[in-house]
Amino acid sequence: MEKAIESIKAVKEGKTTVSKIVENFLDKIKKEDGQIKAFLEVFEESAKKQAAEIDKKIAEGREPGSLAGAVFAIKDNMLYEGHEITCASKILKGHISSYNSYAVQKLLQQDGIIIGRTNMDEFAMGSSCENSAFAKTANPINHNLVPGGSSGGSAAAVKAGFCHIAYGSDTGGSIRQPASFCGIWGMKPTYGRVSRYGLVAFASSLDQIGPMANSPEDLLLGYKAVKGFDEKDSTSLRTQDENGSYKGLKGLKIALIKGLAGQEGLEKDLAEIAAQLPQKLSSIGAQVMEIDFKSFKYALPAYYILASSEASSNLARFDGFRYGLSSDAPDLMSAYMKNRGAGFGPEVKRRILLGTHSLSSGYYDAYYLKAQNARDFMKKELEEVFSMADIIITPTAPTAAFALGEKISDPLSMYLSDIFTIPVNMAGICALSFPYGQRKKDGMPYGLQIISARMKDEFIIKAAGDLSCSL
């Protein structure tokens, strides 16, 4: 499949039209998405209309936007004015966005086509896309396996060739883990780099929008297209990316976490790949060091306390009065109970209950405060690592894609999918996943995660681009 950068070039040179590119994607989606179910809705009408307008602009000799020719999919938690948004939840079914999220606005302004909204775990809670109230997305490589989650629909859409670039949101690994499961590139930018305005909140201090693509070139394009300062997000960063500091793999200081190859739950083939990394990285001229990461063990439990606490507060807005699923009930209290009881799925309920428990009187100090402390500790530890090393490399997830239904009834084993990705969200730094190696028995891809300090977003894309060619 053509890369986004190639399609943009072809449009610029007059070799094709945006409408033709969109038609091709729509045809492919019509033929194949019935099996995969990457999309909850395809925006056929608005995508065609957008394409025709851009083509007209070009025909009239006017300069099109810098993304003319590129086709994007968005996760179903990013607002796109006039289009339905559900977060894959029954509680929001039929809800129409009344404004554009910052990221969507930027894509539209630059003449990017938005072709549809993708399936996800309900309110971005999950690691397999099975928590969607509307569909189970299949992994495009093997339809019996999950695509990962929560941005599983976006990962599947990119892998299946239904769009050039898809956006996801990543609270604890929800872009990187599905990217790894589907054999594509996925990135969680530095916290504050992409505005959260118009992204439906799950855990506000951890959520971040990021791109997913088939190549590092398109990943960079997708990242640059939506980054930037936004005064509507109070956590948006004014600081510029650290450009120009990447000088190639030779001498690049790479940290590997000690004892990680023996991590419980790590698939055997992946452990072997991890064990070979130091030697391979040294042979291409990198400077490899092993580090202790003491707080690593506590990242996951601390995350589930903090993310669930924030979710229990953020999701209080879904009450079925101003919008969303509404039922008949005699009084206010029973209306709340009924609307929310019927509207939310099991994983969302579990997390809200856990968050409510962590914030409730008598438990706050033991859970929420302690988890905040763990987060501080982790941030400091990682800052120390990045005073010595340029990047950290870990596997993205402990396994390749698992079977549909395999983990859905065991929440704890599902949570462990995010063990390597969560510390990045906790520290607010950036990381990406790129495809590397395969599970021997079925050829399913593994992913390697490249982590770096805040503002090193473009640095890691360049470094990972080189690593994927040289390793």
Binding site: E81, I96, S97, S98, Y99, Y191, G192, S205, L206, E231, D233, T235, S236, R238, T239, S295, K297, Y298, P301, A316, G320, F321, R322, Y323, G324, S326, A329, D331, L332, M333, S334, A335, M337, R340, G341, A342, F344, P346, K349, R350, I352, L353, L354, T356, H357, S360, Y367, K370, Q372, N373, A374, R375, D376, K379, P411, L412, N425, M426, A427, G428
Partner: protein, 94 residues
């Protein structure tokens, strides 16, 4: 964890649960809480709390924007409406 605690949390969180759900969640929540209890092993007395991933403070003027066109779109999502009135449950009991 007994279903009494689940009952209490379900009221606090305003989420109605049926008996089957209560039983399922009390079992699952027990193992999840036992697992998150690990962080109790850490001794953080020296550390500050109140961490956030963001280190910036973007405060802006709270000025009114007159170009907001979403009013009608927002009202359309309202679950119960009569003429120009939006209907909600009575908030004050009695």
């Amino acid at each position: 964890m007994d279903t009494k605690l689940i009952d209490y949390l379900s009221v606090l969180a305003r989420i109605g649960l049926d008996e089957k759900e209560k039983e399922l969640y009390s079992g699952q929540m027990e193992s999840i809480i036992k697992w998150v209890d690990q962080i109790g092993e850490l001794d953080f007395r020296q550390n500050e709390s109140g961490s956030s991933a963001a280190e910036t403070e973007n405060l802006r003027d709270d000025s009114r924007e007159d170009n907001f066109k979403g009013r009608e779109a927002i009202l359309k999502n309202f679950t119960s409406r009569e003429f120009d009135f939006l209907k909600v449950k009575k908030v004050i009991e009695g």
